[in-house]
């Protein structure tokens, strides 16, 4: 049986690329909020004009699940639906993000509701998702956790590691910095259950670092045994340092 990978933000640039890259080796649960992912799925079939009226190209297409990760009830439903569909979850990649910049702190020109929503989306929701999977599956499955090398990969940002002044990204940056620390705490809590957790901090993609490189880095993390790491991905960063 192929391992099961739950990917959030699957309609985005990185999420779509991850779904495509992992489909040959994993069963994919692709979570999206509003925009349906562009890749073939149970919600998007390929029509063979010369064959049966509606034929899907391959049996193993990502299984799309709609949900708003800022709503705890949606998080629970997503996990229940994915477990009902596949029976297990082996990898969580949290790539959904609110990437808006809210301006300078001193000008107070930001909308506090939007700021709070960003913090929830970027650093609370990924942890709620991991927690829901843990409670419904990983908690009592130490042997399977080890066998399937189960892990969480939170997609953070280089803005969570460094301050890039002058572009009003303070809250975005803080949300990613918080995600990095929360991931390290998560790794610490999951260690005794044989589940790993790491965060990956890419530069802005695809202009500063290619999306392919970010995907490759994430695949490396999934295949590795590392945990509790915060891994920078820049144009110059080494690919095989883990």
């Amino acid at each position: 049986m192929m391992p099961v990978c739950l990917i959030t933000g699957s309609a985005g640039k990185l999420g779509s690329a991850l779904c495509r890259a992992l489909t040959p080796t994993h069963q994919i649960a692709a979570v999206y909020r509003k925009k349906l992912p562009g890749f073939p799925s149970q919600l998007r079939g390929v029509i063979d004009l010369d064959g049966p009226r509606e034929a899907r190209k391959a049996a193993n297409v990502p299984f799309c699940v709609q949900g708003d990760l800022t709503r705890p009830e949606d998080v629970r439903r997503i996990v229940e639906v994915v477990l009902a569909r596949f029976g297990q979850i082996d990898v969580i990649i949290a790539s959904a993000a609110d990437t808006r910049y809210h301006g300078k702190l001193l000008e107070l020109s930001f909308d506090s509701a939007k700021v709070e929503a960003q913090l929830i989306t970027n650093c609370v929701a990924p942890l709620q998702l991991a927690s829901a999977v843990f409670q419904k599956s990983w908690k009592d499955q130490r042997a399977a956790n080890r066998e399937f090398n189960r892990c969480v990969v939170n997609v953070s940002s280089i803005s969570g590691l460094h301050v890039f002044p002058g572009n009003g990204q303070a809250f975005y940056s803080a949300s990613k910095a918080a995600l990095n620390f929360l991931t390290r705490h998560l790794a610490s809590e999951l260690t005794s259950y044989c589940v790993r957790a790491n965060s990956v901090c890419p530069s802005r993609f695809p202009d500063s670092v290619s999306t392919e490189k970010v995907v490759t880095r994430i695949l490396d993390v999934i295949a590795s045994r590392v945990t509790g790491q915060v891994l920078e991905v820049t144009r110059d960063s080494e690919q095989a340092s883990i």
Partner: protein, 250 residues
């Protein structure tokens, strides 16, 4: 399903289930056919710009399709094409069709969210492989005769096809997509935006759920050809009950 000779063998046709079932196709026609369609569109637009009317409450400039113009757009208004489309959305074949050329100038506003699920009136006596509404003699939406002796017969829009063409300058961010929605107002539920890429097509069954609209296009004009298939009132009611809109005579 009988393949249309003009189709591009490298075309990609996909069916989507959300926010409502619809079909999208890219690289629809062979290059020579696409170029012919584009030339036909441009020649009408350039020669008869005055015939393009602004829609009510809508910034689009619209030229209603007529039998004598349709042959220039083969195969789009031919029976073999409309039967092919009907097969894709599991509808019974029907001769009654309507169509339009749409030119949406850059800077147009978003259209309103609607579902196209309404009745359309045709001449009961018309015969032929394809039958267009006779707008000179009858109001298409209400069935109100405009000429003595005209016998209007009610049909219902059954499917909408939008074929996008001559949008060479369009790129992401220009706007002009067709928004598809889960509900009758754009802010609620899921939506997706179908980009007006040259030689691509959007097809959906008209139903109580087929909510869609033009999205404002600040960056580039948008051109398209619209085709509506129709179905009998009996067939429609068997599928959807009486949920289609009947416009009252003015």
């Amino acid at each position: 399903m009988k393949r249309i000779a003009e189709l591009n063998p490298k075309g990609e046709w996909c069916v989507y289930q959300r926010p409502f079932r619809h079909i999208r196709a890219e690289r629809v026609f062979r290059t020579d056919v696409y170029q012919r369609l584009e030339s036909a569109f441009l020649s009408l637009k350039n020669a008869d710009e005055a015939e393009f009317r602004q829609g009510t409450g809508y910034d689009a400039l619209i030229l209603a399709m007529r039998q004598n113009l349709a042959s220039g757009f083969a195969p789009l208004f031919e029976r073999r094409w409309t039967d092919f489309l009907a097969g894709l959305v599991d509808l019974p074949q029907s001769a009654q069709i309507d169509g339009a050329l749409h030119h949406i100038p850059a800077g147009s506003r978003s259209g309103w969210v609607h579902n196209d699920f309404c009745s359309g009136w045709f001449n009961a006596k018309s015969k032929g492989d394809t039958i267009f509404p006779d707008r000179g003699k009858c109001d298409y939406f209400t069935g109100t005769p405009k000429a003595p002796g005209f016998q209007p017969k009610e049909f219902v829009r059954a499917a909408t096809m939008i074929f996008y063409l001559h949008n060479d300058d369009w790129k992401q961010g220009c706007g002009g997509e067709t928004g598809l929605y889960e509900a009758s107002h754009a802010g609620a539920g899921e939506m997706c935006a179908v980009p007006p890429v040259n030689n691509s097509l959007l097809l959906f069954e008209c139903s109580p759920h087929s909510y869609h609209s033009l999205i404002a296009n600040p960056g580039s004009h948008r051109n398209s050809i619209i085709l509506w298939l129709h179905s009998s009132v009996e067939n429609t009611e068997a599928r959807w009950g009486k949920a289609f809109q009947r416009h009252k005579p003015k």
